[in-house]
Symmetry: D2
Subunit: 164 residues, 4 copies
Amino acid sequence: MQKQKFIAVIGSGQANASEIKLAEAVGKEIARQKAVLVCGGLGGVMEAACRGAESGGGTTIGILPGDNREAANPHIKIPIVTGLNHARNVIVVKSAQAVIAIGGSYGTLSEIGHALQNNIPVIGLKTWSLVREGKTDSGIISVDDPVNAVDIALNMIEDQPSRR
Amino acid sequence: MQKQKFIAVIGSGQANASEIKLAEAVGKEIARQKAVLVCGGLGGVMEAACRGAESGGGTTIGILPGDNREAANPHIKIPIVTGLNHARNVIVVKSAQAVIAIGGSYGTLSEIGHALQNNIPVIGLKTWSLVREGKTDSGIISVDDPVNAVDIALNMIEDQPSRR
Amino acid sequence: MQKQKFIAVIGSGQANASEIKLAEAVGKEIARQKAVLVCGGLGGVMEAACRGAESGGGTTIGILPGDNREAANPHIKIPIVTGLNHARNVIVVKSAQAVIAIGGSYGTLSEIGHALQNNIPVIGLKTWSLVREGKTDSGIISVDDPVNAVDIALNMIEDQPSRR
Amino acid sequence: MQKQKFIAVIGSGQANASEIKLAEAVGKEIARQKAVLVCGGLGGVMEAACRGAESGGGTTIGILPGDNREAANPHIKIPIVTGLNHARNVIVVKSAQAVIAIGGSYGTLSEIGHALQNNIPVIGLKTWSLVREGKTDSGIISVDDPVNAVDIALNMIEDQPSRR
């Protein structure tokens, strides 16, 4: 079975209007490109991205922190119940071949760290910038346009056979 | 979105011919009944169940212990990459609303314990029997027929609104 | 630094008087033998074992399921905060070189499965018996006396250089 | 039993000479102040901090990513074996009441994110700076002196009764 490409969308459960709009557009484009959306399964950025993906007929996976599948947002097709609380962040990024970060809570920051530690590319929309010893770290690929973010994610997966 | 019923199939990665046959029949019936199969994503009982489900057009989720989605058996449609090693067993059972155990390794035993601890029903085919202070524990519902196992699992999910 | 031997004591958070008595004696003997006690950090069997170990001047480690170190029983010297819920059971047994199981909840059963899966010896006091295809499984070494349980655990650690 | 204060020291397993020196001084001061050092148990910054703490007679806890306690650096007194790989980062920070970050790998970044998400203070020595929408985030308290870092950590624990 040819496996589909998996893209994680990460961001806060409490998102502002601009982040919600970006997330929905990202989710819609992921579905249009026939990729699978992975996220933390809850509200805010996660829910908006899933709503976009669902509107495009895409598959949505929610890696839930608690013990109850009912906590998933209504657009999650595949709820995964971990009971691991914050440690589930690691699974969100490891299950994806590229990560799109939208906005910037501290939970999102932990996911960016886990992704980069595992050599999984991170594309950022209005998210964190990282500075190390006075120099901007090049780990996060910063873009402005949601469709562009998905294009870059898919191209980076293509270019790295080990991640396909 | 009306969520489908999720059934976990648990069993050893090194299974004998009789267990393989049972697992394949269980997987096939899960797909025929339009439920989703969750498993640990590797070989043996897991792979046989997924092969059965795939032949019936079903959805198969593999909760992988390692860091590499390529370790999934070829019939897994949705690989979830945890990197958690044995702790991923907890996620396999929590993501399901009923569990079917086939054969009996110690890993399977840990999953039976986690399922019963979380009040998730366990149906057993040629698996462990549990004895506590000289009395057989009634936690595992032992059956002989794979189609019957799936029927019982689905009925138990139906009967318990909190698990639907 | 010569590391001490670590023994896990596992059992229900709701224990009866007989289990409490056994657990306290096991904890006391672990301390007398200069080994370290690892447990899940909560009440019942865990608390009784820690009380025994503390009375003997021993070190007690509690691998807690929640996010709050205050949930540890009052005899825990080293609280480890996991936030992993039931998945913390895996860490309790992996951190030990031998496991003593007292009484029999389903959580204890999951820990027995994880220990045997990882080739960590399990000594049982009034705990589960395991039967596979009509035959009693020899995985759990069943004993009646708490001091004897600790002796066997320490001898098994000695005999297996890879576990020291 | 009055519990001791737990401070996590986080940083790369491959550290440079300046980071090693800072880590050793931090570990020594943690021990001098009778606090307990928690870390990821491996080399680099972790090992240097443990060496400092051991020289001061302190207690050192290593939350190990793999399945083998022998992977702990030689200055770890309490090895905790998780088998969780990168997800063990969450346990390192949750088990502490304050975190001192030295240097800056991506794994360290993930731990900073998890700590701040859980409202655990982070004191930084030559580590990441965080910028969100063009503004520096105040989450990391940046200092230059290792003794000062430990003082701030202990004072912040004192000031927040819920963390003691």
